[in-house]
Amino acid sequence: MSVFEGFRFRHITSPIHNRDPRIKFLFVLAMFVIAIFFTEFLPLLVLFFLPLPFVWIAGVGKQWLRSLRGAVFLASFIFVFNFVFGYFYRSYPSTTMLLEYSLAMTLRFLVLIESFSVFFLTTSPDHLSLALEQSHVPYEFTFAFTTAVRFVPVLAEEAQTIMDAQKARGLELERGNFLKRIRNYIPILIPLIVSAIRRSLELAEAMESRAWGASPKRTNLYVLKIKLGDLVLLALAVGLLVAGIYVRYFVEIPLLSTFLPQLPF
């Protein structure tokens, strides 16, 4: 579960946490777009290190690293895939160039992971739902989102309790061949699903009893306001895009492999 740990929100405040989620999202989007522009290693490396100051200011270093650690498996798969595919099916002037290219593609994936990780680590689900609401996403969806997030720890606990209850009736999850192991999870999934359905019904009753849908114009206790810090972040995002476009079309990007010894194969 450690990759999910990297995406979980903690109760901290920082200049980054306080930024409007919509602007933060635009920044992440800008990073993503620029990452698509480039297939060269160096610019992607710059992009990779770009969120670091934000991570440091927000104080979420440990969790952020954990999310990257979780992505290592997939990242290595991307690297190997690109290298092998390129080696056998594409012609590259040199193997070192292919290596650089594969590393660049891996970096691109990591840029995506890390920027979204920073986003989720510095944005509370409440903040996020507020942003969605103010972006005119229908309230049903925002509500479904917040409620789902709110019940994640509850469901996790319940899953554990159900596992305990069935283990106490002789269920051995580790035993048996592959098929048997899958079947072993049925006594856990069914109570979990049934419980989720019952819970939804109770929630619906409570929602209705608190005037759900009573007014066509739903108000909100809080409102997101764009502040100076948000404008700064927006300017940074725009600046990043401009810089990215400039480098793409007007700057000769050196390839590292031209400076490195060539591999014999």
Binding site: S124, P125, D126, F143, T146, T147, V149, R150, P153, V154, R199, E202, L203, A204, E205, A206, M207, E208, S209, R210, A211, W212, G213, A214, S215, P216, K217, R218, T219, N220, L221, V223
Partner: protein, 289 residues
């Protein structure tokens, strides 16, 4: 001591209410007639399956608007015919607090949960903030406003649920076994909060409970249901002391039970105590000469 004010205006009037859940073969409510007066603290009790929860759902319109099924008879709550008003409209007058604290809290912070109903009603922001603050204060949980519901104890969660219903300032609040998942001390605290809402704000309370030992002392009206019908309806001491209540298998307060046993053994004492304190007091008076 609570007493049934006989000259109060009725705030709930039910006449010959009969209800069957969709697809059910048996009726859940059979010819139920009941009057609740404004400002009362009514306890509704009875064996499992007697129809208490079904009746609660009628008070705020969940029946017939959320649970379809067949509803017949007169159902007037806060001068509104429930059949003709949406649940949303009823919510302004009747609040409903449910048994499971976890499943009636949706938001990620206590504050947002308390504001939920007000947001649904489209209340302007400044007014909402005031109401939320007021509701948090009335239930004694102002210090919990920024906490996430999952971090709270069951008793705290129920207080949040009460605050979120209170914020809409209903005339009536119905509590459906609110202390089921709480320990006795937690239950006591919740009853005290409910009693205060009844005393200070004049909110009519309907409390469905099995834990009569702890709750009976607050009641001014007791209704016992059995098998979809009203079996007993009246003044707490009379009802709890009746033979019928005992035969229905209701958890009569121990103090009353003791009085009955004494009477059966030839020791008839005056007055029927509704709480352990009252019982001790009465016994002291009689035994200490």
């Amino acid at each position: 001591m609570p007493s049934k004010a006989k000259h109060s205006l009725p705030i709930i009037e039910i006449k010959g209410l009969t209800y069957t859940y969709p697809g059910a073969s048996k009726k859940s409510l059979l010819d139920v007639s009941l009057t609740i007066e404004k400002g009362e603290f009514a306890i509704l009790t009875g064996p499992s399956g007697c129809g208490k929860t079904t009746l609660c759902r009628c008070f705020n319109g969940l029946i017939p608007h959320f649970y379809a099924g067949e509803l017949k008879g007169g159902l007037t709550v806060a001068d509104l015919n429930v059949n003709e008003h949406t649940i949303g409209e009823m919510a302004k007058h009747v609040g409903l607090v449910f048994q499971n604290p976890e499943n009636q809290l949706f938001a990620l912070s206590v504050e947002k949960d308390v504001a939920f109903g007000l947001e649904n009603l489209g209340m302007p922001r400044e007014q909402m903030q005031e109401r939320v603050n007021w509701a948090l204060k009335m239930t004694g949980i102002t210090d919990l406003r920024d906490r996430a519901p999952h971090e709270l104890s069951g008793g705290q969660q129920q207080r949040v649920a009460i605050a979120s219903v209170l914020a809409m300032q209903p005339d009536i609040i119905v509590f459906d076994e609110p202390t089921s998942f709480l320990d006795p001390l937690g239950a006591q605290k919740i009853f005290e909060v409910i009693a205060e809402l009844n005393r200070k704000l004049g909110i009519t309370v309907i409390l469905v409970e099995h834990r009569l030992d702890l709750a009976a002392r607050y009641a001014s009206h007791v209704i016992i249901m059995d098998d979809g019908k009203i079996a007993l309806d009246g003044e707490p001491r009379e009802i709890f002391n009746s033979e019928q209540a005992w035969l229905l298998g209701v958890g009569i307060p121990k103090a009353v039970r003791l009085w009955r046993l004494l009477e059966e053994s030839g020791v008839a004492l005056k007055g029927i105590p509704i709480s352990s304190d009252e019982a001790t007091q009465r016994l002291k008076e009689v035994l200490w000469r």
